[in-house]
């Protein structure tokens, strides 16, 4: 680049990653972890409206990172940046950098289809396909062309076990996914997301459409998922964030990431007054 106003003009991906390791600290087992998803100066606009403002974040591997904040502060927008689901929205414009293992996913040579095969997503409203339970779980493997390489039956079983749904549905794999209860449907969607064995799972308020019992089952499940996957979960339920996450990012109005730290620190001793106000309910 001819006009580089960075103070360190030689910054490259490798250096970024090394510094980030220090920034991210240690994982659940005390070993140092690398950031899987990193954002640098990330700005998102929908038309003229700004949804994310200058976001910098390093999301650690194999841990649950919660994103909390009031409605409309850009939580879903951030999540959709990670797997480029924002590509579906015509008015959406993204500046800055969002990297997956150090590679900017908005580089020209990145294929969003390939990216989404590494990053699964679970939505707010359970959205199983109007297909059988089996076909729902196998869908990702099939479209990703993996159906021929793996034992599909075994993969479906593994995914359903992983989503704590196997015992409830193993005798009705051929019935429609729509016949399940809301909580089961959401676990089916989780099974569908983990079946192709992604590295990261994005969840956008996955329990907000469910009753408390179904929600708590999903919460338990999320804890288990972090052993194998990096989980990024958006929630507007602060108790949920406190219960299930290792790290918490607080977004506040205007699409600003105000504070990002270990979850106990955020809830017990936040550095930023605005975060304290938000946590204690004075704001948002």
């Amino acid at each position: 680049m001819a006009t580089d106003h960075e103070s360190e003009p030689t910054t490259n991906d490798a250096q970024l990653i090394t510094t980030d390791v220090q920034a991210t600290g240690t994982g659940r087992n005390g070993e140092p972890t690398e950031p899987v998803v990193t954002a640098r100066d990330l700005d998102v606009h929908y038309g003229a409206e700004q949804a994310l403002n200058d976001v910098d974040i390093d999301i650690p591997e194999h841990r649950v990172t919660a994103i909390i904040g009031p409605s409309g502060c850009g939580k879903s927008t951030f999540l959709r940046c990670v797997n480029r689901m924002n590509d579906q929205i015509d008015s959406c414009r993204i500046d800055g950098e969002l990297s997956f293992h150090g590679k900017n996913v908005y580089d020209e040579d990145v294929d969003p289809v390939a990216l989404r095969r590494k990053i699964g997503m679970v939505f707010q409203k359970p959205n199983p396909f109007p297909k059988s339970i089996y076909d729902n779980v196998a869908y990702g493997l099939r479209v990703q062309g993996m159906a021929g390489d793996v034992d599909l039956d075994a993969a479906v079983e593994r995914a359903l076990r992983g989503a704590a749904l196997w015992d409830e549905v193993n005798d009705q794999l051929d019935s429609s996914g729509l016949d399940l209860s809301g909580g089961q449907q959401q676990r089916l969607c989780i099974a569908r997301a983990i079946a192709p064995d992604p590295e990261v799972i994005l969840m956008d308020e996955p329990t907000s459409a469910l009753d408390p019992v179904a929600a708590s089952k999903i919460e338990d499940l999320i804890d288990d998922l972090a052993d194998e996957y990096t989980v990024i979960i958006v929630t507007h339920n602060m108790q949920q964030a406190a219960r299930i996450s290792d790290k918490t990012a607080v977004f506040l109005t205007g699409g600003n990431l105000v504070e990002f730290d270990e979850t106990p620190t955020i809830f017990e001793n936040p550095a930023d007054d605005r975060v304290e106000d938000y946590i204690t309910g004075k704001f948002g």
């Binding site: 989404r116 997503m121 959205n127 199983p128 192709p196």
Partner: protein, 331 residues
Amino acid sequence: MSTETNPGPGITGGGGAEEDMAANRRARRLLFGCAAITVVTTLAIFFVLLDNAASYFFGARFTEMLLGASAERSVTFTEFFTGARWAPDHATPAHGVLPIVFGTLAITVGAAFVSIPIGTATAIYLSEYASDGVRAKLKPTLEILAGIPTIVYGYFAIAFINPVVLSPIAETLFGINIGRYSMLSGMLVVGIMTIPMVSSISEDAMSAVPDDLRNGAYALGATKFDVSTKIVLPASISGVFASYILAVSRAIGETMAVTLAAGFNANITPNPFDEIMTMTAYMVSMARGTTAVGTVEYQSLFAVGLLLFVMTLAMNLCNDWFKRRFQEEYR
């Protein structure tokens, strides 16, 4: 308002209540009357067809028989349904309906091979691929295509499809000299005519598929083509299929375009460049006014009309059955 009566809790509506309710009843009767007109008309058409068709087969209408006319065999059902020559107005008449049923079915099937793939692909393009700008231009264009009078399509076939497109192909590739009319020309023109019907109804069904489902598939690394063919099409299949049945019904009953494109020569032929005759084309040619009331060829019109009526009715029943069988599954 009278002050003596108990005004109640304010739900009797005061003095105007009686008139309001009467007006309500009048509106209800009027609307019912309008709805009844269509039902009565349908029944009347069916009855007239049936009654007149009776004179073709039994020598007298049912209504005449009730008044004492004796039934005598005119055209037997066996001849009608199995005879392979159709020429009721000929010097040596023949009453086998198969050639014109063949004509109608051949045009219908041929047209379906044009309208279903092109219409479905157009619907997928409009619903899944096209940008808003393209969609805003293409949809009205398709609606214009649907609004062109069918006689204009007929002239398009006779002036363009047959002489300019098909004739050189038939001549250079097969050495066949094609006349003014051909079965293939009829198939193509009816197919083109019914594309908008398939595309617009299918597109409505596809657009109604919730984005949640599309996003779920995209998030799993599905391509646009995967989403279109494996999510949207299956989820909208009942609407898409309804459009096919509608297009097929339309092709069965299609008259002006097919008469001008495919011709008036009732025969069963595998050669797509031959002139054929459909049931509707026969009815047009017989109903031109030179046919005297009461003759066998006049009566044959009603027999053919009745058969056509039954065929379209069967398509409608098929449509209803399919709709019930394959309800849109998504919420």
